[in-house]
Subunit: 697 residues, 2 copies
């Protein structure tokens, strides 16, 4: 299967060419507006010409072979056309028709199976079915089923959308400029993951925008994200299904497995993927990356505005989004004082007052001065660029900005309007040509700047860019291991657990207790009794061999009486641990993406404040350390209120070992819950006080 | 001072009328475009006419008396003109000129003092100086110094802005419709608080929008907000100064006292004021309120969209903003199944699929069906209304919406675009005429809907709509009271503290200990020793009269030796408390707005998770109870993990008593810190274990 035949074809045939509204007519209209027409053949046995362009009666009648066939006709005609196209050399096909798996009937599913089998047989890269097609603006290929206003949209953003409507909305936006725009539809043959890999490899695509409902090929997905991360190519994702209702919508819409949303968040973080909240953010963020000639080399921002009110909004919104405005150097302030009116008070964010916006040279000098401050990585120019220009100052400002950008050595600049109204297309283009994107208003604009800041701060070499994806869909029955057996798995991976063993008799209990040292805790050893204390199956703080013997008898009696059906392996005798700060470490094995490790402080910190970190395995010790750093509760480990600092190193080791364990056992371990882990003072280590593993075999 | 003469004048004179660019020319241009020209006189001794309208040589020469004078000339001319205007009956003045207190020089401050004195003498309501003036769209009065594109802007939103630039930006927006638009400037004479009260009283203004940098008349401000709350008139505020840098900007811009930002948040919450993050949100939220014919009577929302992708975005963004989408009733679902294509799966949010958007009647029936569901309070129609209409479905959708709105009995409807692109003005007007606002894209749009939801959920009768504003600016020296004296203030207000007393001798210590019961704690009683344990001034858990006697001697010796300069009142003997859940209650007395009470759980909950509630005094017991409800940690009070529920009633009583105390002592109490309060099981009350008060006298 060769995606180039589909996405960058030399010769194209449109079957079902027409002038009527609908798939055929709209596809032909798009071809006439956007495509290199000489490389396109229209096919319709009933017409001599469409929009003045010759129509051929059949694929067979064409004077040359084709790469791509665009099928505008209904489902029942598709298979024949694909066979005829393959006979003429086609390796790519776009199928708009619906009536496949998306309708949810057996007939639809059967049509889908037949289509996939046929494409396998013909080695055909098929887009769709039930899709809106694609545009390749770089090579002037148009195979798209809906029309929008005609304009040059060629740019550096590659879009893949699992929704045709959202794809069209993005194309309708005057500020969006694309390399490719792909409405992927059902993805029965060529998958979303294939398109992703294609755009990662494509040199014309500087930024990838993805509207995602779900992933069907997790390993390919991870490969694509890894390649993008290593190339430092930004991937901006709008993934629905954050909420319970949203996840239901995504599942019913394309039948994708939408998966646990938090796992997606964790995967995106690992691979440096930017996750946005809606389509406007997708647009603003991709355009920001695609328009800037280079990315900032440091995360400090300068903000320049024409009024105090606007400056205040930038200060506050920047603060809310974690945008750092470093104080200007004394030399910068001195130069600004010389350039600005006497009543201006230079600072970052900067209120220049409106007067300087009527002089392009002064404006350029102020911009250059701010830009040259060594702590500044990027400049945000505040100005409400209206649709209809009412105030002439934009003429001077734009000239000033263009001058600075043309001089060379410029740092990145973006313009931030305070109201959407909407950005004047002429100035939008002029500023974009100078490498200056115009953002949407502050709530969106500062979010996009935050994503940019996070992207430049991400270092792929600090992340293990893999997922521990299970070999096959997890099967088998869930089986909960006993505490002792669960602990055994931990010890296998060097994870400290309390010393102890299973006693089959009172004497054995006493001898284990003698060996590990007093006091000891004793618990009934049975995978069938989940709540051991409820049946009198737990006795703590036993201080002698005699006490251990008595406890053994009591526990076995209680179990026999109150859980007569349970299989009992004996009594688990353990050294009592001295208490430490309680941490929980959990593993959950996602059916698609494999195991992820969750860490948090025990009790209310997890349950009420949800202060946890989640990271998909595999990962190493330094990544485990950064998980801990990301907890709000981290000060508690660092010598809180005069207490001694705790052993964060040992805890990071334990987390990394859990990740190794989870990664190795990806095909069998369903869940692992280590709760609590006691964390002691620095140098004194950690210990897994209790653990419970669930396996599927 | 009569604000009607300023804001709703019958006869107006513009002094400095001109055709040139600048204050005079732009004001005259605005008069010619917007005003009832017959009620306006242009004054300029050097011209016969301006824009074809007769010019008079002086105020004296006018044929009738005036209400308002608009002064377009520089500062040095202002005082004479005001005197002449007053002689011709003027009670209102707009002064654009700058060079007053905003420049920060002594000359500027002196000019300001003279201006204020003159206005007091002439009983003149003056707007400005250093302002852009105002527009009264209702009475067709134009006294505004900047021009924007000409269009009808008459509506129901009254805007007050402390920034001329932001005021102009709002006026430039095609979707904004106003009753009044006021650029208040320095507010030397008529204050922001005066304008607020005026718009609260004004029947044409249904919503007030306020860009606020700071408050100078806190009592008037509170009065205005109270009046708005009782009238259920929404006040939407953009207040800069949330961040440390933003607060510096606000202070330097107009010299306003910007105050602690969290206090503003707490005041806004108390009075049901909506606080927005930027100008676009101010616009969207005010327009939403002003356009809806009526507000929803319940907070449940229904979402209707044309595609699965859009439906997923609505589900997720709604969830993030706390928008509740109740499940539809079975009858609603049944009706929808009959109306929608077979492959649609009806739910809330609803994906209707695009097909129904091409039939106005079907669209109307779907909208009506969803609207009639009893759990729905408002309907959000998802549709990306483009600037240039490419897809004809909006024609059918708009007709369908208009039909439903015209039938009567409609619930509120808003349209939500997914991209800003930007909303087609013709449809914007047409939908607004039907009572349907078009929101900005989801991140803004759902925030505006959340503000609406919060507004309809706010009940003014549940809040004490007052502030305990100190009589005068707090003066005097700060003095920290001893623990005993601090406790005495609490006891005065019925707040439980541990029993005890000050002992001047060892025998007295023993007798107090006998009275309160053992064990006791003993601490050196001195306001001069802040860290008592550091000097050996604290002894705990003393179990007999003898131990108390010995402790007395030891503590006095330690104090004499290690804090020889301290004034020592004796030793404070207290019954040891049994420990409970630790809560802190604090009072901070804001120099402008008076005391506010802060409540939170002790230790990490306050310090790391910042889980606190703040409410300005005065307030009652039920408000104190709602403060506790607002804590994330509230589950800890409710019988967490099988523990007994705690005495929330007694804690709410204590908080209400602290509010009463703080309110009564607003002129002297600077700070109060009760830390910890022990909260016991239900029925067993609370106790203030330690307290520290700081007074200024």
């Amino acid at each position: 299967m060769d995606l180039k035949k589909l996405l960058a074809p030399r010769v194209i045939a449109v079957v079902g060419a027409s002038e009527k509204e609908g798939f055929g007519g709209d596809t032909c209209r798009n071809v006439m507006s956007y495509a290199d027409k000489d490389r396109v053949y229209f096919i319709n046995p009933g017409r001599d010409a469409v929009f003045g362009k010759k129509c051929w009666p059949s694929l067979e009648s064409l004077p040359e072979d084709i790469d791509l066939v665009v099928v505008c006709t209904p489902r029942k005609t598709v298979e024949d056309i694909l066979r005829q196209a393959a006979a003429r050399g086609a390796g790519g096909a776009v199928v708009y028709a619906s009536g496949y798996s998306e309708v949810g009937t057996e007939e639809g599913r059967e049509a889908d199976r037949r289509l996939r089998a046929l494409c396998a047989e013909l080695d055909m890269a098929l887009m769709g079915p039930n899709c809106a097609g694609f545009m390749n603006y770089v090579d002037k290929v148009s195979a798209f089923a809906f029309i929008s206003a005609e304009r040059d949209r060629t740019g550096a953003v590659g879009i893949i959308s699992q929704s045709g409507q959202l794809c069209l909305s993005l194309m309708d936006s005057p500020s969006m400029r694309f390399s490719y725009s792909i409405s992927a539809g059902n993805c029965s043959v060529v998958s979303m993951e294939d398109y992703l890999q294609y755009l990662v490899d494509d040199e014309h695509t500087r930024v990838i925008g993805l509207y995602l409902e779900g992933v069907t090929q997790p390993a390919r997905f991870a490969e694509g994200l890894r390649a993008a991360a290593l190339k430092r190519k930004p991937v901006v994702v709008l993934k629905t299904g954050r909420s319970e209702k949203g996840s239901r919508v995504a599942a019913s819409h394309t039948g994708s497995l939408s998966g646990a949303d938090r796992m997606y968040d964790a995967i995106f973080k690992k691979f440096g993927v930017i996750r946005v909240r809606d389509v406007e953010e997708l647009l603003a963020t991709t355009q920001l990356f695609a328009t800037l000639p280079c990315l900032p080399t440091r995360p400090g921002f300068a903000s320049i505005n024409l009024s105090g009110g606007e400056t205040g909004v930038c200060a506050d919104m920047g603060d809310m989004e974690g945008i750092d405005y470093p104080d200007f150097q004394p030399e910068t302030l001195e130069k600004l004082r010389a350039l600005l009116p006497s009543y201006a008070s230079p600072a970052n964010p900067l209120d220049t007052t409106a007067t300087i916006s009527y002089d392009a040279d002064v404006y350029a000098r102020v911009l250059r001065t701010v830009m040259d401050d060594p702590s500044v990585g990027m400049v945000i120019v505040g100005y409400t660029l209206l649709y209809e220009i009412a105030d002439p100052c934009i003429h001077y400002m734009a000239r000033g900005i263009e001058k600075v950008m043309a001089e060379g050595g410029a740092k990145p600049v973006a313009m931030l309007p305070f109201l959407e109204n909407s950005r004047n297309p002429e100035y939008l283009d002029r500023l974009a040509a100078a490498g200056v994107p115009v953002l949407p208003p502050p709530v969106y604009g500062f979010a996009a700047l935050r994503y940019l800041k996070e992207f430049i701060s991400y270092r792929p070499e600090e992340h293990t860019l893999e997922l521990a994806i299970p070999a096959s869909a997890p099967g088998g029955e869930r089986r909960t291991l006993s505490e002792y057996d669960s602990g055994a798995i931990l010890r296998e991976y060097g994870i400290p657990t309390p010393e102890g063993g299973i006693a089959a008799s009172a004497d054995e209990a006493a001898s284990i207790a003698d060996r590990v040292g007093y006091p000891v805790a004793m618990k009934v050893a049975s995978a069938d009794i989940p709540h051991k204390s409820d049946i009198g199956g737990v006795m703590l703080n036993l201080k002698s061999a005699d006490e251990a013997r008595t406890a053994f008898a009591r526990i076995m009696d209680n179990a026999a009486e109150r859980a007569p059906a349970a299989r009992v392996d004996g009594v688990f005798v353990q050294k009592m641990l001295k208490p430490g700060l309680e941490v929980i470490i959990g593993v959950n094995n996602d059916p698609q993406f494999g195991p992820a490790v969750l860490v948090g402080l025990g009790g209310v910190f997890v349950e009420i404040f949800r202060d946890t970190a989640l990271l998909p395995a595999p990962f190493d010790r330094s990544e485990a350390g950064r998980m801990l750093e990301s907890l709000k509760a981290i000060p508690l480990f660092r010598g809180y209120r005069g207490k001694a600092p705790l052993d964060l190193e040992a805890l990071a080791d334990m987390i990394a070992n859990v990740a190794r364990l989870a990664s190795d056992k990806r095909d069998t371990l369903a869940e692992l819950d280590i709760n609590p882990v006691f964390v002691y003072e620095r140098g004194q280590g950690v210990c897994a006080a209790d653990a419970l593993a669930v396996v599927r075999e």
